[in-house]
Symmetry: C2
Subunit: 301 residues, 2 copies
């Protein structure tokens, strides 16, 4: 197949910036995501907030996450304590299970947590209060009565119960736990690197979402021990440091902005993905599943 | 591939073989997939047919696919001609796009196709005839009226139109094409390595499904050129050879068997995944999405 095809599909986090930079010389086809991005206005975007942006620095580069205080404020606070203390620095990625998760933390469970709590109350779901502006998707979901986006996160909810929760789409950042539901404390984190394991929803605290650098976690060698853990210590990928953006010097921060998910531009983006207008598509699906909606990210203008 | 490697490459499909081997000493919890597998009978399994089993041999090991003559007989025949002629040998993996596909073929489009056809009629869907025994999933689907399993493949269908097709779940093996719908010929193949891009369903010919060795394709470095193509030739992963199992010496074949998907055992497996009984789960989902149902594979007994 030629490089032009199969997908001009901008998978999540893809080539939005490059496309829009060249928009004036080379207009993208009408109705495509590239056209939606090219037509977007400055206030269709929002900068990442350093107080809830997390950098995982590896030898191979930086992975960027956006955290969700709306859903996991307690875990976020505990993670802030750990990261401020440099708790993760020098630890490692210990588990990569194909089509499931990449997970990191202390492989020996020996490092003292310092000021951070060892147990944090589960934040598996929250109340769906009337102030939450959810952009609801029109095509339903296998797992939940309602799905959509809230402040840049793919969410599911049950209006009848007034409950809403973060979902395990590709790139979801979660808090590892043992069998006890309060045994997670954000010292063990994982990110989804395969088909959305939605059966985890409401069983574990989701803390945020990957924004940039997915390939640094998804292309790691899979572990050969049960559940994808590495069988030997040298296989583990060292963590240089894990920090909130607010805790690193301004010069060391990335200036990124995300497309807002409560705008007409984002509604147009959803439609551009429900019905693909790229020339390659023979039969637009006319539907879209929650975890197939990309949220564009680009360098801040 | 020795036994250790085989078991370790079962990651995507869980550790079924290892679990069942130890079932007598260490019974898995009732209602779990491990328990279903442990309780299965010999005729709940079927051997892979060498006439429709494909081996992609890389330096890192062997990737095994099962092909679907029910859905793509013309492409399968063309691929057989190509593989018998050693057409793929010495070519390479040219594209790895994160959360999307790994793709291989001739990066220069120069190698003559020999006896194989350059254009093959699209096999995007087929008639849903009354002889097809589909195991229908009970929880619906965002993209199609009906989904389930047919002879080991995740399928979607529309009974009102009497049409059925293979879906783009993780591990789906597809035939790259250009914009013209008959421009695919199986000389360019891709496998899904991310969240199911179901918008591709019925837009491209799906030829089969990955059975073993997913990690050899999913953990490759992502390409930095547009759409995940490698920017330079040295980044490409060489292909040692691609062959149907029937065309390699018996001693070089893997003896594998898959759980049948039209049995009570498989129905029990689906239920074990709809409602996870593993002690860890706090709230079983009560639902399952097509691409989250694993099909166990193991060494042939």
């Amino acid at each position: 197949m030629n490089r032009t095809n199969l997908c001009s599909s901008l998978a999540a986090f893809a080539l939005v910036a490059a496309v829009s930079i060249h928009a004036e010389e080379n207009l993208p086809p009408p109705g495509t995501m590239a056209a939606v991005v090219a037509a977007s206005k400055a206030d269709d975007w929002r900068p990442l907030d350093p107080e809830r942006t997390l950098y995982l620095d590896l030898e191979s580069g930086r992975v960027v996450f956006e955290l969700a205080p709306l859903f996991a404020p307690l875990h976020l606070a505990n993670l802030r304590l750990l990261s401020k203390a440099g708790w993760f620095d020098g630890l490692s990625i210990n588990r990569v299970q194909d089509n499931f998760v990449t997970q990191w933390g202390d492989p020996t469970s020996q490092r003292p947590l310092g000021k951070a709590e060892a147990k944090v109350s589960p934040e598996f779901e929250r109340e769906w209060t009337s102030d939450l502006r959810v952009t609801v998707l029109p095509d339903g979901d296998v797992y939940a009565p309602t799905v959509g986006f809230l402040e840049g996160f793919p969410v599911a909810g049950d209006r009848a119960r007034s409950r809403i929760w973060l979902t395990h789409c590709y790139g979801a950042l979660g808090v590892g736990r043992d069998t006890a539901i309060d045994s997670g404390n954000a010292s063990e984190l994982y990110v989804v690197i395969g088909h959305a394991p939605r059966q985890l929803d409401r069983n574990i605290t989701v803390l945020g979402r990957l924004v940039l650098g997915a390939e640094l976690l998804a292309a790691l060698p899979r572990g050969s021990a049960p559940a994808g853990f590495y069988a030997t210590a040298p296989e583990r990928t060292p963590i240089k440091r894990l920090r909130f953006a607010a805790d690193v010097p301004v010069a060391d921060r990335l200036a990124l902005e995300m497309m807002r998910t409560d705008t007409e531009a984002f509604a147009a983006l959803i439609e551009s993905r429900r019905n693909r207008r790229d020339e390659w598509y023979h039969l637009p699906a006319g539907k879209i599943e929650l975890c197939n909606v990309p949220i564009p990210v680009r360098e801040r203008r």
